[in-house]
Amino acid sequence: MKVICDRAALLEAANNVGSIIPARSPAPALSCVKLNATKAGGVGTLTLTGTDAEVSIQLALSKVDVVQPGVAVVMADKLRAILSAIDDTDATVTIELDDEQCHIKGSRSRFKLFAFPSADFPPIADLAGQSNTRASFAVPAGVLMRLIGRTAFATARETSRFAINGVLLKKDGKKLEMVATDGRRLALCRATIKEKGEEKVASTSCIIPTRALGLLQRVAHDPEVAVGVTITDNRAFFAFAEAGKEKAPQAVVSTTLVEGAFPQYDEVIPKDQDKKITAGRDDLARAIRQASVLTNEESRGVRLAFNVADKSLKLSSRAPEMGESEIELGLSGYEGENIEISFNPQFIADALKTMDEAEVLIELKAPNKPGLFKAGADFLYVVMPVNLPT
């Protein structure tokens, strides 16, 4: 195998692939990246493959000159380190496999990496090899990223309730929905996709692990690129391909699905909120940030006092033995009675950060009932309040 490729493009690809490869593994081959140089019709392609046994990725580089097709399996972190250490004046690097040694050459530097037998590289689930396809559809990368960006932040971290460590992806006809929760808040984002006639399947849902979503966000550059999503019984595939090149996608991310039952989130979304408040997103975000300065571990909550008479919101926080804060804010709309409710400010800040709308709609009912935040037509966010001492 011998290939000459664009150094920067290869580094980026190696970093993306390497982001999921475990740095230390009992089996060294699991810490490797597979480089596969192919040539079809005079066009060379270098495909980088990596996996952490749960999530896997294949990235195809087209800015390459394949001198001799072949496969090299090398330690991913070393490859990344070498590529970033090589003089950045070098536009290209040459990678050449000679027996069990992989030579990486820049203009003034040479590296020799011991390669592993390609048979040792862990098998990668192949889209072609899947039988029980439950759903298959295409969605523009931009839409997918919007769904991920507005939900993934709300997933639980390292909880033993595995189902909420991931994001629910639900497809029902033309409606695509992503939902994430950590038990205290829930984020839901919806999108509509163009339905191809042939895939009239009943509603399908699956839980995508957070790691896979992070990888998707890394890989997606062009919002216009179509992502072919295929959901099977235990895996999901995301193939990023330019229009007309679906057969040769630039990137394929595949992941095992999280097993378990996702909470019945429909029941959690409040339907009868009688206080509806509209606030400027930036103003609210700033006020929340200010109020959260004087919170601490013992007193995490920020009290929000909504006043209908002057359409105002007063935020207050109090950290024992530290201090207190009070921030006032004008509201652009208010229906309903006065209410005081406390939230963990981080939860609100998280959601406001993902919004690009100028205004946010806050719907409330009672101090011990969930608060509902809405932005645009596609985003819902439910936050449970904090019981503050009276």
């Binding site: 309730r161 929760t181 038990g183 205290r184 959690v268 033995e321 001492p389």
Partner: protein
């Protein structure tokens, strides 16, 4: 003892039909009245279990006779011979026979007197019981008598009563204990063991009666010689070992101060040990009530409670407590051995002991010291083993001589102690939480070993100087392997366990918040902001988390609702074995503590503590339960060994250290810090 034994135990001289004996029914054999000997032997089973119980009964008789000096002699651990000699009132010649008669006593005349017993004995059983299982003789002379008389008995047969020569007072000699009850004889242990128990009895009673002189002579050697008229403090130190003095805190209390209704009912004096003196058994606790050595659960509990958080749960503090109360306030007629008592107002006793001990502990610097392993060792021997007891100065008996063998032994012990500190055995001891499975383990101190070994206190840390010596901030503290903080104070070097200290800090903060009032240690706390008890801040959950648990844990939910509410946990039973949780403390979320396992553990724990049976309304018990749960929370939430801390965090942690009460141990009782004094360091480097 059953009917079968009756026939074999019959001795000549018994008169069938004696009304004293009880009856024993047997399926086949006719009902018969027991012979007095058998009846007496059965009764003896309760009073006389082993030589040590004979020693106890005889010393108590000697005390009741107002002896000022009591000499106890033992041979073969008391199995061969026990002799207790006093210089008290003596027994008149004519009463000697009665002394050996069951239920004959000079101490109680009517049932009314049982209401306020002022003597050690009162049942009139001891001498008769002892005589029935041994070859006993009593030589006695009253101050009025011209000479002494002696009575000898074997089983229940009185062999002779004759005049003898001897000083004023009584001397009871008991030989061949259990010679006629082989079954019991079999249960005797080795002479060394029995001797140890006898000696323990002598020491305990000696502590309870500092005014009376005691001597213990074993096989001709004087093991203990305590002069009469000592102060309680002198007596305790003489018995436990003077070298312990710096590690003992004096306690004094009068229940009248706390409870006017019971003014003057209970007074207490005691010496209690630093947490480092705690041990695996209750053997370090000596409690006497009105001069009577007692084992009382209420008091044991109060002691344990006072040390909560200072010692590990499985260990018991060292404490000597002398209590005085109106005899009417306590019933000692509970059990023939009279070590159990029943208090009229046990909560008063509990409260007095608890608050007195707490106060003493809170005022002291309890930082564990590295030093003086040999002292702790001597202490352990002082109570249990022969030969290490305090011999008053000026006594002609030889002081222990430091031989080369002793030196070698000390050196070996030091090396082992050192190894125990710096070698981590298999796992982390005592469920020591570690964020890092590997890595820093080699540097981790084995706390269990340390606790066991570290018994000394620095002379500079006398109990009289209660304020904590502050850390001299000349240098930045150092974090060792992300687990320990090393800094210095006026006395030397301090090694601080970051997890233990943080856990302690969190625990105190939580406790202050939930209980209110308690000290919130923070240097920058605004003055005058009196803390009001508040429930912990809690986060409501989107959907309730279902906790699968055991049925009795489900019952707890209803009973412990007030407790749970204060903790910020909202839960309700969902089914026979499941509980739904709808709120959970925010700070536990912050610390990545999961709802289900935590609440599950909590409920099971509360069920074990008796919450399943009903609400615990007693405020003290509630406080105890809260403390335990908060301890659980603090442990889960504290930084772990292996967590890297920023300079600011280290500074903050050390700043709070100085102001937090009981800072020397994490809530589990492991020490938070260990001090190497300049003396220790010099010793380590052989600087003399």
């Amino acid at each position: 003892m059953h009917g079968g034994a009756v026939t074999t135990q019959t001795t000549p001289g018994t008169t069938p039909g004696d009304p004293v004996a009880g009856t024993v029914a047997s399926a086949r054999k006719p009902i018969r009245v027991l012979s007095p000997l058998v009846a007496s032997q059965i009764a003896a089973g309760e009073v006389v279990e082993r030589p040590a119980s004979v020693v106890k009964e005889l010393i108590e008789n000697a005390l009741d006779a107002h002896g000022t000096r009591i000499v106890v002699e033992l041979e073969q651990g008391g199995i061969e011979l026990i002799r207790v000699t006093d210089d008290g009132q003596g027994i008149a010649e004519g009463e000697l026979r009665l002394a050996l008669t069951p239920h004959a006593t000079s101490k109680v005349a009517s049932a009314d007197e049982l209401e306020h017993i002022g003597t050690m004995g009162f049942r009139g059983e001891a001498l008769a019981s002892i005589a029935s299982v041994s070859r006993a003789s009593i030589r006695s002379r009253t101050p009025q008598a011209q000479g002494a008389s002696i009575i000898e008995a074997e089983g229940d047969v009185i062999v002779a009563v004759r005049p003898a020569s001897g000083p004023i007072g009584t001397s009871v000699t008991v030989r061949n204990i259990f010679f006629n009850t082989p079954a019991r004889r079999k249960f005797l242990r080795t002479p060394a063991t029995e001797q140890g128990r006898c000696a323990e009895v002598v020491r305990e009673i000696a502590i309870a009666h500092p005014g009376v002189g005691f001597a213990l002579i074993v096989d001709g050697r004087t093991l203990l010689d305590l002069p009469a008229g000592q102060t309680p403090r002198q007596r305790v130190l003489d018995v436990l070992g003077k070298e312990l003095s710096p590690q003992l805190l004096e306690v004094q209390a009068d229940s009248g101060v706390q409870s006017r209704a019971h003014a003057g009912v209970l007074t207490l004096w005691g010496l209690i040990g630093m947490p480092s003196l705690a041990r695996g058994t209750l053997s370090g606790q000596h409690v006497a009530l009105n001069g009577r050595v007692i084992r009382d659960r209420t008091i044991q509990h109060a002691i344990k409670e006072a040390y909560r958080g200072l010692i590990e749960p499985g260990r018991h503090p060292t404490a000597v407590l002398l209590l005085e109360m109106d005899p009417r306030g306590v019933d000692v007629n509970v059990h023939p051995a009279k070590t159990e008592v029943r208090f009229r107002d046990s909560s008063l006793v509990h409260g007095t002991v608890l608050s007195a001990l707490r106060q003493a502990l809170q005022g002291a610097d309890l930082t564990a010291s590295w030093q003086a392993e040999s002292r702790g060792h001597a202490f352990a021997q002082g109570l249990l083993g022969p030969g290490a007891a305090g011999v008053p100065s000026g006594d002609p008996l030889p002081r222990p001589v430091v031989t080369p063998a002793v030196r070698a032994e000390e050196a070996r012990r030091f090396v082992e102690g050192f190894k125990a500190r710096y070698q981590s055995p298999g796992g982390s001891p005592g469920g020591y939480p570690s964020a890092q499975a590997t890595g820093a383990t080699s540097a981790r101190i084995d706390f269990a070993a340390l606790q066991a070994a570290t018994a000394g206190a620095t002379p500079a840390t006398a109990p009289q100087t209660p304020e904590l010596l502050s850390i001299t901030p000349t240098t930045r503290p150092m974090q060792v392997h992300n687990s320990f903080l090393v800094t210095q104070d006026a006395q030397g070097m301090l090694i601080i366990d970051q997890h233990a200290l943080h856990e302690r800090v969190m625990f105190q903060k939580l406790l202050a918040r939930v209980l209110g009032g308690a000290s919130v240690p923070s240097a920058d706390a605004p003055a005058g902001s009196a803390p009001v008890p508040q429930p912990l801040e809690s986060q409501r959950l989107l959907t309730q988390v279902v906790v699968h648990t055991e049925p009795r844990a489900v019952e707890v939910v209803e009973h412990a609702r007030p407790l749970l509410e204060r903790l910020g946990i909202e839960a309700r039973p969902l089914g026979p074995a499941s509980v739904g949780v709808s709120s959970f403390p925010t700070f536990l979320f912050d610390r990545n503590v999961e709802v289900e396992p935590f609440v599950g553990d909590l409920l099971v724990k509360l069920a074990g503590d008796g919450w399943a049976e009903g609400s615990i309304t007693d405020p003290a018990a509630m406080e105890g339960a809260l403390a335990e749960v908060l301890d659980m929370m603090a442990c889960k939430a504290a930084v772990k060994a292996g967590n890297q801390l920023s300079d600011m965090e280290v500074g903050e942690l050390l700043a709070t250290r100085e102001s937090i009460e009981r800072i020397s141990a994490c809530p589990h009782g492991r020490p938070t810090s260990v001090r190497l004094t300049m003396g220790d360091l010099e010793k380590l480097f052989h600087r003399g």
